[in-house]
């Protein structure tokens, strides 16, 4: 049960105001995507959400606690720099448990998580003994996702995780991610930063459109597409209409 409450959140670096009075409530198990112009302060928002930085004003509470005291599953954009290249796929996943001094059952827990990363022809468990450099970009990022989920997070944060991948792989990854989240024991509360309009809509329960720096919330758009999401939905009228309204909010927020 993870509820996130962002209240009057502002962040400045000296005279530079990056975040301006953000307010957002996220329900437990909800999938939120953040969509906004480049350099609007998304990274800063994620850094505060992950407890790496503290806000100048306002607060973020995760189940009533500040992020530094919460468990955050973080997936970075750059999987090459965030995975441990000296560890195998299992080794990377097990790190999430070692870090918390969980010394028993590590292998079994890692295996259980890896088993969930099984979607169509993707089967990460079969690669458990491979090193990251032996995997494709998509498989590397799935390893990073497995590691974050093995951490058993209260909030699952993803920072443009698929933006380094080609289009076909990205589409597959988006479906794989939703499939994995459907298999987890608890429904993860997920915050996903995207720079891809279709992706932001396709994955989300709600799209939060951010305005240019200092970032505020330009608009929140409910995505009332049924789940499970299907590739064909991207072609439908409803998706098109959602696309228009997100883009309109994005355009007005960019000015």
């Amino acid at each position: 049960m993870s509820e996130i409450a962002i209240e009057q959140l502002s962040k400045s670096f000296g005279a530079l105001k990056v975040l301006d009075n953000l307010n957002l409530k996220v329900k437990s198990g909800e999938f939120i995507t953040f969509f906004g112009p480049n350099g609007c302060g998304k990274t800063t928002l994620l850094n505060i959400l992950s407890g790496m930085e503290s806000p100048t004003k306002g607060s973020i509470l995760i189940n009533g606690k500040p992020p530094a005291h919460s468990k955050i599953g973080f997936v970075f954009q750059d999987y090459n720099q965030s995975l441990f290249p000296w560890r195998t796929v299992s080794g990377n996943v097990e790190f999430a448990l070692e870090a918390q001094n969980m010394d028993s059952n590590r292998e079994a827990i890692a295996e259980n998580v890896l088993k969930k990363i099984h979607f169509e022809e993707i089967n990460l468990l079969a690669f458990r003994d491979k090193y990251p450099y032996e995997l494709s970009g998509g498989m590397k990022q799935l390893t990073a996702i497995a590691r974050a989920l093995a951490f058993d997070p209260e909030v699952f944060l993803l920072d443009e995780p698929f933006s380094a991948l080609d289009y076909t792989t990205t589409l597959k990854m988006e479906d794989a991610l939703l499939d994995i989240l459907g298999k987890t024991e608890k429904k993860e509360t997920t915050l996903f930063v995207s720079h891809d309009l279709d992706e932001a809509i396709y994955l989300a329960d709600r799209v939060v459109v951010l305005s240019k720096r200092p970032a505020g919330i330009a608009k929140i758009i409910n995505v009332d597409l049924p789940r499970p999401r299907k590739m064909e939905m991207r072609l439908g009228k409803k998706f098109f209409a959602l696309r228009n309204s997100v883009l309109k909010a994005f355009e007005s927020g960019r000015k």
Partner: protein
């Protein structure tokens, strides 16, 4: 693959050819540069003889022993020091002058100081070599720590890894390619310095002693034979080290 490996023979063959041409054309005084054949005969004699004073094996083992001990000491001192210097700015700034000062000096210039503390036996030779090699390992390990991925450190912190785990399970392995690069340079340097110490600080056995003795009494073929053995020794040590390195830090450059 096999063919490419044969390319390693190109440079030794080229050297032999040029050497032979120089000898045939009498470009240099044969007293100071004997023919390859003459040198090869001497080389075989030094390796095959069992006679004390002729056989070079005791010298090879003495040099190899000193070199490996120096290198091991350098690694034992250099790796932890490099790690803490890379990790803590305070320790870095406190030791920066020391490291950079001695790093820019030829270690061999400090013989008198080391002889003062360690005498004229193996200890001073090993100490001066270990000192010079440790500095290189320190600097490279430190750079390894500095270049450790900030994202990996952040990922580990977000996963609530404590300081010890962060250090042993993230920063240390991430710095390991740097450490190995330093050790690779150090292992070659160890051989060089040991041979120089053997030349200038007295010893009964050692390739350096053989080279300087042969040089002093104009036994020039023997001098070149000893030099070739030293070079081959360095090549073998380096090859073994690279083999270990590739298997240990297998992820570098991939």
């Amino acid at each position: 693959m096999q063919r490419k490996k044969l390319l390693i023979l190109v440079s030794p063959i080229a050297i032999l050819v040029l050497w032979q041409i120089a000898s045939l054309l009498n470009i240099v005084n044969p007293l100071f540069l004997p023919t390859p054949y003459e040198t090869a005969l001497k080389l075989v004699e030094l390796l095959a003889s069992a006679e004390a004073g002729v056989t070079i094996w005791p010298d090879i083992f003495a040099t190899l022993y000193r070199m490996l001990v120096s290198f091991a000491l350098a690694a034992i001192i250099g790796i932890p020091l490099g790690l803490v210097m890379g990790y803590s700015d305070k320790i870095y700034y406190s030791l920066e002058f020391f490291v950079d000062f001695f790093r820019s000096l030829p270690a061999t210039a400090m013989f008198p100081l080391f002889m003062l503390f360690f005498g004229i036996g193996d200890e001073s030779k090993i100490a001066v070599t270990a000192f010079a090699c440790a500095l290189i390992i320190v600097v490279n390990t430190m750079y390894g720590v500095h270049h450790a991925s900030k994202l990996r450190i952040m990922a580990a912190k977000i996963m609530k890894a404590g300081k010890t785990k962060l250090f042993t399970k993230v920063i240390f392995p991430d710095a390991l390619p740097g450490t190995f690069a330093g050790m690779r340079i150090a292992v070659s340097l160890a051989l060089i310095i040991i041979i120089v110490t053997e030349m200038f600080i007295g010893t009964n056995f050692g390739l350096g002693r053989r080279i300087i003795d042969a040089q002093l009494v104009y036994r020039i073929p023997e001098m070149y034979a000893a030099i070739i053995i030293a070079g081959v020794l360095g090549f073998i040590v380096n090859t073994v080290f690279v083999w270990i390195e590739k298997r240990t830090v297998h992820w570098t450059g991939k």
